[in-house]
């Protein structure tokens, strides 16, 4: 009954025998043990499960793990490099783009996918790009601000040079 699949997540290869009905999000969370990707609904509505698959943002609750066989996936755990936050993570922190944090991984991945194809989006473009991601806490305003700020940081390359290290609670700008 099981199908053997191999999926690369954040550069690491995961091989497993899976039931055909296993959802990709469950594979990511339970087989690969990467629980940063969340589940918030049963109807492909909320986007908490958003990951980047072969360069495109997708809702991993709406795909079977077997369909992702051979694919490259990026999740929230892959954003920070060598202990340095990705500019979009810094921007969300600085602009208070999160509250309970449950939608955050999906928002970050949707934001990254947008900025990779459009480094200089307008506010409207940002709002449209995250319209498949629901947030119950923030009212989106600071999420939008965070993504625009990340775009600015990435364009300046400042994100790499001058970010705050993980774990400090210094005053926001």
């Amino acid at each position: 009954m099981g199908h053997r699949i191999a999926v690369t997540i954040n550069g690491q290869r995961y091989e497993a025998e899976v039931e055909p009905r296993l959802l990709l999000v469950h594979f990511i969370r339970e087989v690969a043990g990467l629980t940063g990707t969340h589940i918030g609904c049963d109807t492909t509505s909320c986007g908490a499960c958003t990951v980047i698959l072969n360069g495109k943002p997708i809702k991993s609750c709406t795909m079977f793990a077997v369909q992702a066989d051979g694919c490259e996936i990026r999740t929230v755990e892959g954003l920070a490099q060598n202990g340095e936050l990705h500019p979009i993570q810094k921007a969300f922190w600085e602009c208070h783009g999160l509250q309970c944090g449950y939608c955050t991984p999906g928002m970050l991945m949707a934001g990254v996918a947008l900025l990779e194809r459009n480094p200089n989006p307008t506010e409207e473009e940002v709002r449209r790009a995250i319209s498949g991601n629901l947030c119950r806490c923030t009212g989106y305003q600071n999420i939008v601000k965070s993504i625009l700020r990340a775009a600015e940081m990435m364009r300046e390359g400042a994100g790499v040079a001058s970010g705050s290290p993980v774990g400090s609670g210094s005053p926001a700008q």
Binding site: E19, R21, R29, L34, T35, G36, T37, H38, I39, G40, C41, D42, T43, S45, C46, A48, T75, V76, E77, L79, A80, L85, Q89, F92, W93, E94, H96, L98, Q99, C100, G101, Y102, C103, T104, P105, L108, R127, R128, I130, S131, G132, N133, L134, C135, R136, C137, T138, G139, Y140, Q141, N142, I143, V144, V166, G167, S168, G169, S170, P171, A172
Partner: protein, 785 residues
């Protein structure tokens, strides 16, 4: 207690400090309930009723037990044998854990299947065979009160669907004022049935250890200590053998206050199977069975003079509580704080009646940023004031100005008995009107109206009542609603603070650190905040109803001050002077008149463990239980500006200004975030949400394609501002803010839409104001597209 703060350049209170909790959430390291996996863990799925009202003829477990991986099937009958088929609700009723004899709402819990995997549990649940015999269904709360209505709760002595009547205020004085009134307005107003729908659904892992007779319950809870006590009472386990851990919580908004049947069954499942049992509900289960909010059918009347002076308020409400009276309210107040409905105005008399009713719907009522029915109250009075303004042909801002409680009348005693702590309402009103450019907007509206365009301006001037509460008024199942903080300062001058509240995104790890840092002269980076583990945190009633800052925030400040008093003794010892020769300046103790002779909290903390003064107990720790002397009364003026498309009926919120007065602000960035979120919820309630049922009691709104949440595209741009009127009785002057935007905003949206249509004779439109409703109003009024 004074509201003045420590004068110090070392000011961390009031700073927009970045949140300390964020790094783990930003990197996928948050630890929510479903992220926890214990060795040998089993999974649970619940079999739910397809009927809203039916007798259970039989339940056949066998096909489920035959599914590979299924370990146990639990029914109401099984629970009955254990004495666990029913559990007490927070409102003095009892509620079925698993259905016994009959079901009372669609999606009610009927059986539970425990299996070695989630998939096997769901397969097992699908295999359970339940035979039902449908009964007549009661959906409409008014029909429930008719004499020939079927009795839903046959288990009760009282053979009626009427649960209770609650009255507040002075009926005779109110009737007299109405009899003498020059002007009376009356309107029927419904606050729809909505749902908090936090993005993370509810769930738990029950881990019972037979050898130790010890239960660890990991659970999505806003009030872990209350859960522990309820579990001890329900499951008859000794309370010290229960540990409740509420890990990171993905939003709550009141949805995660009640103890749900699934938690109790998971505990039983763990006892039966000897394994940890995880249960995480689906979104449909969340929307269809956990606590909804509101569903108030209100009739409001105002008596006033022709000049617009309000005299008396009369309110009658029929409250749809669903199948069990399970709403989470403090014991003494069956309709919560609904009698705050005289709002921000100088009413002389008021009489408020609430009749609660059973129907074949899921239980609940109090949730969703409402501070115990304040949302309904505030919406009611703010809507009614606009109706009165319309009746009197007065500007709604003018009518409010005329009736707002004047600043010199605080503390103000309302006709229903509440004592408002502080306010400068006229100042806040003028500030908001100026900020949005009210006069110009009215001018623009007149011009547009002359051209046939539809534009509206809506004002809401709400008063909240939060921070439950003084324990003389507030308890839950007898447990007084104080809250607590415990601080330990370590030898190197770093501190840990533990509290009885539990945040779900409100930023407690940062704001409480700011409070303690401010009071102790430390950096917030050096203060670790911990909540959510009943084995380590002091007892508290949890986070909801905007009570954390008013209660635990106060407890944290008072606890820190207690530490500072001990620190003063140690400082005197170190500086070889008398305690009274010392003053606390810039986060350190210094000798009066000799500022170079001083010691920091770090030095004091080190001495507390290495060199304590003779006779003084070593260490530097304290606990404080804070019982607030009164509630706090945050308030605000919200103004919405809308444009309506005559062709489609679409309402566009062009501007929305929220001026909040929540007293002293601890972290303005976090407060603004709270306001944005609550306004977005208010926007959704005003324009898109209502949980509706068909005549058979089928819930028609059970997922996010039916229960609409606004996305980033529809959500308006929020403008926020503040006035600051500190609470005179809170040690920091803070009042709490989490719920204000949800309480205050629905009326502003609806008032704006009605204002845009008032010249067509429109006086009131019930929420949600959908495009279709507006389109019909326009077509009926003969407006051309």
């Amino acid at each position: 207690m004074s509201a003045t703060l420590t004068e110090s350049p070392h000011r961390v209170l009031g700073q927009p400090i970045k949140r300390k909790e964020d790094p783990r959430f930003l990197t996928g390291q948050g630890r929510y309930l479903d992220d926890i996996k214990l060795p040998n863990m089993a999974y649970m799925a619940i079999v739910r009723s397809p009927y809203a009202h039916a007798r259970i003829v039989s339940i056949n477990k066998e096909p489920a037990l035959a599914v590979p991986g299924v370990l146990a099937v639990i029914t109401g009958e099984d629970l009955e044998k254990l004495g666990l088929a029913w559990m007490p609700t927070l409102n003095g009723d009892q509620q079925m854990v698993l259905a016994v004899g009959k079901v009372l709402f669609q999606y009610q819990e009927v059986a539970a299947v425990i299996a070695t995997s989630r998939e096997a549990a769901y397969d097992g649940a699908a295999a359970v065979e339940v035979e039902y015999d449908p009964l007549p269904v009661v959906v409409d709360p008014f029909k429930a009160l008719e004499p020939d209505a079927p009795i839903l709760r046959e288990d009760r002595k009282e053979k009626t669907n009427h649960i209770w009547r609650w009255e507040s205020g002075d009926k005779a004085a109110t009737d007299k004022a109405f009899a003498e009134a020059e002007v009376v307005i009356k309107e029927k107003i419904r606050f729809p049935r909505v749902h908090p729908a936090p993005l993370e659904p509810c769930g738990c892992i029950a881990d019972y250890n037979r050898t130790k007779n010890h239960l660890t319950l990991y659970v999505t809870s806003q009030a872990p200590h209350a859960y522990r006590t309820v579990l001890a009472m329900v499951a008859k386990l000794p309370e010290h053998q229960i540990r409740v851990i509420s890990p990171d919580v993905g939003g709550g908004f009141g949805n995660k206050v009640p103890v749900y049947p699934g938690y109790v069954v998971a505990v039983v499942g763990s006892m039966l199977t000897g394994r940890p049992v995880k249960w995480v509900e689906t979104r449909t289960e969340n929307l269809a069975s956990t606590h909804f909010a509101r569903d108030y059918h209100m009739t409001v009347e105002i008596a006033a003079t022709r000049e617009g002076q309000v005299k008396a308020l009369r309110v009658h409400t029929v409250a749809d509580h669903g199948a069990f009276d399970a709403q989470a309210v403090p014991s003494k107040w069956p309709a919560g704080l609904f009698n705050i409905c005289t709002g921000s105005y100088t009413f002389e008399a008021a009489h408020v009646v609430v009749d609660a009713v059973y129907t074949n719907k899921a239980p609940g009522g109090v949730a969703h940023r409402c501070s115990f029915r304040v949302t309904e109250a505030s919406y009611l009075i703010e809507r009614a004031m606009d109706i009165l303004a319309q009746e009197l042909k007065m500007d709604p801002a003018e009518l409010r100005r005329k009736n707002l409680i004047p600043a010199d009348k605080f503390p103000w005693k309302s006709p229903t008995g509440w004592v408002y702590d502080s306010g400068n309402y006229h100042h806040t009103l003028d500030y908001a009107l100026n900020l949005i450019g009210y006069k110009e907007l009215r001018k623009e509206q007149a011009e547009k109206r002359a051209r046939g365009e539809l534009m509206g301006i809506g004002i809401s001037f709400f008063t909240e009542i939060v921070g439950a509460g003084p324990s003389k008024h507030f308890d839950i199942l007898g447990i007084k609603m104080f809250d607590s903080a415990e601080i330990r300062v370590h030898p190197t001058g770093k501190a840990i603070v533990r509290l009885g509240t539990r945040h779900q995104g409100q930023g407690h790890e940062t704001t409480y650190a700011q409070i303690v840092a401010e009071e102790l002269g430390l950096s917030p980076d050096d203060v670790l905040v911990e909540e959510g583990d009943t084995d380590t945190a002091p007892y508290g009633l949890g986070t909801y109803a905007s009570r954390s800052t008013p209660t635990s925030g106060a407890a944290a400040a008072m606890c820190a001050r207690r530490i500072r008093e001990k620190a003063r003794k140690i400082a005197a010892h170190l500086l070889e002077c008398g305690e009274h020769d010392l003053e606390w300046v810039d986060g350190r103790f210094q000798v009066k008149g000799a500022p170079h002779q001083s010691v920091t909290m770090q030095q004091i903390a080190f001495a507390a463990y290495t060199n304590p003064p003779p006779g003084l107990e070593p260490g530097l720790e304290a606990t404080f239980y804070y019982d607030p002397p009164n509630l706090t009364f945050p308030y605000g003026c919200y103004i919405a500006v809308v444009d309506i498309d005559k062709g489609t009926g679409e309402v566009k919120v062009r501007r929305f200004l929220a001026v909040d007065d929540c007293g002293t602000i601890i972290n303005p960035m976090i407060v603004q975030g709270q306001v944005h979120g609550g306004l977005t919820e208010g926007f959704a309630i005003a324009f898109m949400q209502d949980i509706v049922f068909d005549e058979n009691g089928n819930n028609l709104v059970t997922n996010f394609t039916e229960y609409m949440l606004p996305t980033a595209v529809e959500t308006p741009r929020w403008e926020t501002a503040h006035t600051v009127t500190p609470s005179p009785h809170h040690p920091l002057g803070a009042k709490g803010v989490g719920e204000s935007p949800n309480v205050g905003s629905p009326a502003a949206f609806v008032n704006a839409v009605v204002d845009a249509l008032s010249h067509l004779g429109v006086r009131h439109i019930d929420m949600p104001i959908t495009r279709e409703k507006v389109w019909r109003i326009l077509r009926n009024a003969g407006i051309d597209e």
